[in-house]
Symmetry: C2
Subunit: 239 residues, 2 copies
């Protein structure tokens, strides 16, 4: 029902709409960031890859260009990617989040910050959430640390491995939470650019703790069932 | 795909299989317990309602008989319901769990204990998990407190209101976790008796914390969307 057509690999022509201004992926050389950037590039959205090292960002951009002929993609150091975009995905590891926020605090003010981070540890094969100091989730930490940013947590429940596998159609729901209604709506528009996915409005940023819990559960399910699982919410009224 | 036929309201003839020995619902006069008992009664399974007060248990049993003509259902004080059944659902409020476990500790040894409890609080309209003393979830607390019980956490993500509405077909996945593989398989067989539901093996009891987190999320979604939502896991291999 909610599955769109199969993903076409070649980039679509960028549409002239506010939805397709460049998207930056801070820490976008990691698996989750690169996977999301690939999907958005394939949907015709210009993307920027941010990395601590400019040459790694450039290499990731080249990877995307090779996978998605015609993609509009550039690589930058993280700070420059932040400066050049009004809409950023934070896709760096949780371990690097505190330092990044301290450095990027002023540059992120007023921007749409899409938080994809999950604070995870693996112990004896069990994926567990690790406590976030001063907040109940990574999403809440980001919003508390940078009150002037428009933070939306989302895309936490889709497998990086599957995102990177452009031949695999996406499915399921992208739960979005954040305290700024308009920001959630903007991210929902972005979700709509990716065939097969549905955006679900999950309300305020305090729900980020539950989105992160679902990630840990899915990773445990993936390990047990050798899967790349995701979730769907059943029983919501049609929009 | 995974939806079975609509639920028939009249009880089915009990099948002669180990799957249909009586099921007891401790605290079964509450909304979640009564809803589950109604659904199992409608599926032809004999049920016992347990309550702190025998007369309230009897009244709940009468409610089930009225809704499901032909249902095999009896009401008992909780302790007697525990004594009379090898398979129990714990459907009492989290606030009553500690006292119940202290009293029922020996009686529960060796039994299949299906934990449906979620430690929740509501603050300013936001459903939040409340910390469980000495454990990361209600399910883990029960297993730690009574190591000799065969604890399976499950049925945490289905709306009590919808369970009680027998005209509403059920849908979605029942995530089951517990440290005893055979116990999880037994509960999966029980799930299979309820049309429309699929059992998903979610591994060890430590995953109960995530099942409880999903409950809180679903309650927040229900409030926002005026829904009775549940979840499905997408991308698991067919069994």
């Amino acid at each position: 029902m909610r599955r769109g057509p199969l993903l076409s690999i070649a980039a679509r022509r960028p549409v002239c709409s506010p939805a397709v201004h460049p998207l930056a992926f801070v820490g976008g050389t990691g698996s989750q960031g690169l996977g999301l950037a690939l999907r958005f590039a394939a949907a015709g959205v210009p993307v920027m890859i941010g990395s601590r090292a400019a040459e790694r960002a450039a290499a990731a951009a080249e990877t995307i260009r090779a996978a998605v002929p015609g993609a509009v993609v550039r690589g930058y150091e993280n700070a420059e990617a932040v400066a050049r975009s009004e809409r950023l995905f934070l896709t760096l590891p949780f371990a690097g989040l505190g330092r990044f926020l301290a450095e990027a605090r002023e540059a992120l003010a007023g921007k749409l910050v899409i938080d994809v981070i999950v604070p995870l540890v693996v112990r004896n094969g069990f994926f567990a959430l690790t406590p976030v100091e001063g907040a109940a989730s990574a999403g809440e930490l980001i919003q508390q640390t940078i009150p002037a940013a428009r933070v939306v947590s989302g895309f936490k429940n889709h497998s990086a491995e599957k995102l990177r596998d452009l031949a695999a159609p996406l499915e399921g729901d992208v739960l979005l939470c954040g305290d700024d209604d308009a920001a959630r709506a903007e991210v929902a528009t972005l979700v709509g650019l990716l065939p097969g996915l549905r955006a679900v409005d999950a309300g305020g940023i305090a729900n980020a703790r539950y989105l992160e819990a679902i990630t840990a559960l899915l990773l445990n399910l993936n390990r047990r069932h050798k899967a790349r699982a995701t979730i769907a919410i059943l029983g919501l009224p049609e929009p």
